[in-house]
């Protein structure tokens, strides 16, 4: 039953990704001023919003680990696996944002990069979570999980700064589309539909790879646990 459900989920995810691609590239009308390059919006923006979601999931995992590690160790281990998986998927989505952004910028602004508030803080966000992943790799011993959870909380404090940066400073990056000034928001229903399909597709895809990574990490933990038990009993 479970295998059937997850198999079905994978199929639906792939179908949504294909549909989202079709919507973004073939169906959605062109932007009046930008032309074809505006289509990258349907990849850049969903990935940007969703990377915040996965970093938030990672934060929940980190807090969960710190809260449960003494009282409910099994739940703490699950939380730690979630923290790691969330950080990895978040870094992946942030990489997509930082790659699609300059690709668009080169055509739209004539420059690959600029050190304005939004771009800089997104790069910093990426650096922080990469340093989190590096710490998990370099630090040794049983304390890794606790220390990584602490670092995860620190890293998460940067996320609101990234979100607010577009509102606090005048910036070259386009102003917020959703919730910006009185004239913001997508008006054309075909564009809105394409955008909605894409954010749904990238959401289910992200959840899929998060779940796969989480399962993998849990299996790593169980194997390590079994080895420790065997060493104790030997």
């Amino acid at each position: 039953m479970k295998k059937l459900a997850s198999g079905l989920y994978v199929v639906v995810t792939i179908a949504l990704m294909i549909w989202g691609f079709y919507q973004a590239v073939y169906v959605a009308p062109l932007d009046a001023m930008q032309g074809e390059i505006s289509r990258i919006f349907y990849y850049h923006v969903p990935n940007a919003m969703l990377c915040f979601l996965f970093f938030a999931i990672s934060l929940i995992g980190s807090i969960g680990y710190l809260s449960y590690r003494n009282k409910l160790p099994s739940r703490a281990q699950a939380a730690d696996a979630l923290a790691l998986a969330g950080a990895e998927v978040g870094v992946l989505y942030c990489t997509v944002v930082l790659t699609t952004g300059p690709l668009w910028g080169r055509r739209a602004w004539g420059i690959w990069w600029t050190w304005d508030a939004r771009l800089t803080t997104t790069l910093v966000l990426w650096l922080i979570y990469v340093s989190y992943l590096l710490m998990r790799r370099f630090a040794a011993g049983p304390q890794v999980q606790t220390l990584a959870a602490v670092l995860g909380i620190f890293g998460a404090l940067d996320v609101p700064i990234v979100y607010m940066s577009n509102r606090w400073w005048r910036t070259q990056h386009p102003a917020p589309v959703f919730g910006g000034g009185p004239d913001s928001g997508i008006k054309d229903p075909a564009m809105l539909a394409a955008w909605e399909w894409n954010i749904l597709a990238w959401l289910v895809w992200g959840v899929l790879i998060l779940a796969l990574r989480y399962r993998l990490e849990r299996q790593h933990q169980k194997i390590a646990d079994a080895e420790a038990q065997a060493a104790l009993n030997a």
Binding site: F138, V150, I161
Partner: protein, 222 residues
């Protein structure tokens, strides 16, 4: 005062006073950085005013890292950390004492370096110079408080010095940006540094609070 904070503070200051290890290495290293930047970016005329702020902040950063790498060195040897864990007062007092001590060292280095800096860059401060007395301590505090915390975090890893820099620098970037923008605007007098000063203050409050709250977790790990 009987608090553990005062004890830790006095102990670290006394040890440093006897050897002057940290201050000498920091002083020389940051002096070198200032000279190297002058060679890399020719500081003549108005251009030197533009880059002086950035060079000062980066020199502070590199100098601090050399001190921070040794911040817990004495505690790592001879199981001193176990003794520290058994102290009945909260771990945050130990952290705060270490941060204050390192902050003092870096500030002393900045004060000693200032005349050379003014000479090499022919600095004349076009904006409100007294604001530097606000900006530099706030920026240094941001660097040192995060640095001491992350040095404790990376104590148990195999490449501890490398990991400290890798973790510290990304998280420090917003404060670095604010510090550089503020000092440059004070040197050149071209813009108002108050936004950046407020940001530094906010950053300091947030990160100092969270480090103090989470230090006990890090201290009692394993």
């Amino acid at each position: 005062m009987n608090s553990a904070l005062w004890t830790h503070l006095a102990k670290d200051l006394r040890i440093e006073w006897r050897s002057l290890d940290a201050i000498i290495s920091m002083l020389f290293f940051s002096g070198l950085v200032v000279v190297l930047f002058s060679i890399a970016f020719d500081p003549r005329g108005a251009f030197s005013q533009q880059i002086a702020g950035g060079v000062l902040c980066v020199a502070t950063m590199f100098a601090s890292v050399s001190a921070l790498n040794q911040a817990w060195a004495r505690e790592i040897r001879h199981q001193v950390m176990d003794a520290q864990r058994m102290v009945p007062s909260p771990g945050s007092e130990l952290l705060l004492a270490k941060v204050i001590v390192n902050f003092l060292f870096v500030t002393i280095v900045q004060i000693l370096l200032a005349p050379f800096f003014v000479v090499f860059y022919n600095l004349h401060i076009a904006g409100q110079g007294w604001l530097l007395l606000l900006v530099l301590p706030l920026g240094t505090w941001a660097l040192v408080s995060n640095g001491v915390f992350f040095a404790a975090l990376s104590m148990s890893s195999r490449n501890r010095e490398l990991l400290l820099s890798l973790i510290l620098f990304p998280i420090f970037i917003p404060a670095l940006l604010a510090m550089v923008q503020a000092t440059t605007s004070i040197f050149t007098g071209e813009s108002d540094p108050s936004l950046w000063i407020k940001m530094l203050l906010g950053y300091d409050i947030i990160f100092t609070t969270i480090s103090l709250l989470l230090f006990d977790v890090v201290l009692h790990v394993d």
